[in-house]
Symmetry: C2
Subunit: 429 residues, 2 copies
């Protein structure tokens, strides 16, 4: 990787910029696909699968049957099933702790307000096909959906890998369809004869899937978050183990040539050792060609001080941030922009990717400046409720009347005045 020694702060924006992806061209391809699914439903799904995926969905059916889902379990090794069950349990433990008890707040005497968490009734999960069958993502999205009490959990994937089906059964997915690409997003956004319409769509995908999600979001279907290539930043000092750092950089780089990998350090020695070890480790990887292209585009930045490192990391706003430094937990307290943080030498990113319990659906592309990763909150709505007693309205009412009048919203004021007058009359009676 390219080493950038001690850049000035003025140079940071250019160094930290992500590659700009133009979406206009892809949207032009995707928009007619959405339109076709919207108007023709299942027929469009069958035709598009034949055209793009060379798959005959008319023969297999769009839906995966309960029998096929149940059969997946017998096709997996006991070791893998045990691992998936353990990951499921850890993710469940962490997300279950995110449940909040209802707390009634009396803001003034007789004015009580609270929030109810209610699961989104219908959610959709997209799991891409391709070389890696992302059953881990089924767990990451399905577990909080299950905990939230979502009534319909629809999963679309062009992959029929048994681990995906096994994970889907564990998390209580209610519908599974063999549909991929932008058309799967359209099917869940609009509904078809077979696919139920959902209110929120989650999950990763290629640029067509991403464009489809952004387009349906503009129409009011909620999505998890905007997406970009996956990325890791590692802040390492001389307490870091160079071979661990190199391995973590590569575990990000193997995702694809567009993966973003950044190493930040105050130690010249650490950076040059990591760079050496990196080449050796990379040469032994099955996905070495992919990883090499990502590493070629990536940077190791040397900075003067820990303060500068922290500022730089906050400016970058990494999806994954590994802090392999002496006082990792203290440093973490000063990080304001990141998706998920991994502390010390024995917390590799892959632990969080699969099984520590945290969610792996995280904001990329600097979106961590404003977005959180997926959590239980992503699958619920918080409905506010308020209850005002006659006595409460007597103290709160004049406040509302004064403000409504100043905003020239007379009917807002009268809705209160009328009630106060009725209460005054009751007292007089």
């Amino acid at each position: 990787m390219q080493i950038i020694p001690f850049p000035t702060r003025a140079e940071w924006p250019a160094l930290l910029a992500r590659p700009v992806q133009s979406s206009a061209q892809i949207e032009q391809v995707v928009a007619p696909i959405l339109q076709q699914v919207r108007s023709q439903g299942d027929k469009a799904l069958i035709e598009l699968a034949a055209r793009f995926d060379k798959v005959d969905l008319a023969q297999t059916g769009l839906a995966v049957s309960p029998d096929e889902l149940a059969a997946a379990e017998s096709q997996l090794s006991d070791d893998l099933k045990a691992a998936i069950r353990q990951a499921y349990q850890n993710i469940r433990t962490f997300h279950e702790a995110q449940k909040q008890a209802v707390e009634k707040i009396e803001t003034m005497p007789g004015v009580t307000c609270w929030r109810r968490s209610v699961g989104i009734e219908k959610v959709g999960i997209y799991i891409p096909g391709g070389t890696a069958p992302l059953f881990s993502t089924v767990l990451m999205l399905g577990v909080p959906a299950q905990l939230a009490g979502c009534r319909q959990i629809v999963l679309c994937s062009p992959s029929n890998h048994p681990a995906i089906y096994f994970a889907a059964s564990l998390v209580g997915v209610t519908h599974v369809f063999r549909i991929g690409g932008a058309q799967a997003v359209a099917a869940m956004a609009y509904g078809t004869q077979s696919v139920p319409q959902v209110y929120k769509i989650f999950g990763p995908g290629n640029q067509y899937v991403t464009a489809a999600k952004m387009l349906v979001a503009k129409e009011g279907v909620a999505i998890d978050m905007p997406a970009g290539p996956s990325e890791v930043a590692i802040y390492a000092d001389d307490t870091a183990v160079p071979s661990f750092v190199a391995a973590d950089l590569l575990s990000q780089a193997e995702h694809g040539a567009d993966s973003q990998v950044l190493l930040v350090s105050t130690s010249k020695k650490l950076v040059s050792t990591v760079n050496l070890v990196l080449d050796t480790q990379m040469s032994r990887l099955p996905r070495r060609d992919l990883a090499a292209r990502a590493i070629d585009n990536s940077k190791a930045i040397l900075v003067d001080t820990a303060d500068e490192a922290i500022d730089l990391l906050n400016a970058y706003a990494a999806e994954h941030l590994i802090l392999s430094v002496a006082d990792a937990e203290t440093v973490a307290e000063r990080i304001v922009n990141a998706g998920s943080i991994f502390l010390g030498n024995y917390t590799p990113e892959s632990a969080g990717d699969y099984a520590s319990g945290t969610n792996h659906t995280l904001p990329t592309n600097g979106f961590a400046r404003a977005y959180s990763g997926v959590s239980l909150d992503s699958f619920v709505k918080k409905i506010t409720v308020q209850n005002i007693t006659p006595e409460g309205l007597q103290v709160l009412g004049p406040v509302v009347e004064a403000m409504a009048e100043a905003e020239s919203l007379e009917a807002h004021k009268r809705a209160v005045s009328l009630r106060l007058a009725a209460l005054a009359e009751q007292v007089t009676d």
Copy 2:
């Protein structure tokens, strides 16, 4: 309003459909404005203000000075200031209770995960001009921003109403600009010489402002939520006071001709009485022409049973839902889609609009099916953190290895294997 007696469930979708707003034409107007602000900065803001608002910002300056903000207080009556301060306090009390303590969760022995809430560093608030100076919205967006610890809170408004400036001072807004329209959204999204770039933009506005927010959201700038015309649904039985119900319907209707107003009841008598009272009350309103147009488009739906009423209300997913029924709190427990709920005869919507403490920025247009209203959560990111001890990695590691291998992500596996091997060596030493 139009009375719809006992429609079948098949008729519901058409009855509950919101007017479809075509955004394509408006986007064609807004996109060049965004582009102009992006490329020309302040110069564009001055030119666009002259063109659209007939205002000379070159003369007044873009920024409102601290002196001008401070002077606002003396221009308001003591009553109004006291009301604004009380509303501020109530909103603060309710939103402060939304803070969550950090809870460290040990998902497995030696595997500790938690979430840190961090305020979004830079947020923007848009407050429209027009007849109603929405200082209440300054409180609703500013209070949670202040509680979240957002470092920069930028407010853009074409209105220079002193109550807006007074509220801005209360909530600790750091920058105020005299900018309105789509160009204000662009200024905050991209930053200009004068206006700091923000990471998330909040606030209501006309269809140009809304289109601008949707366009910058597609580019990765976060926004509060998609917007549509404001709406109220009221579920009333014979325990409801008809004049209160009519007043609440009108307080929604006065927002504009496109306001959505819906009355649901099992009682024919209640509906016809409300309809009578409505006309009398409306004739006395200053905004009666606006309200009349909204009421003309609105519906009272008669249903057979309470169960049917609840199903209908859940299908509609109202922004504001008033339950003027005998067992309001029990009914509220069965509502799964709504922005904010108001219980009983003495909880008018206008209480929540101004001062009960709940937030008035709520999902319209059926978005309550998937979106929550604005809360403290809207102004923070939750960063997950994990810390794994060597002993923790020894139990978690094999789980990660098995899953990474099954997903064909070898480098993910090796990042763990390498560490487990190092730990095994240490034991041998």
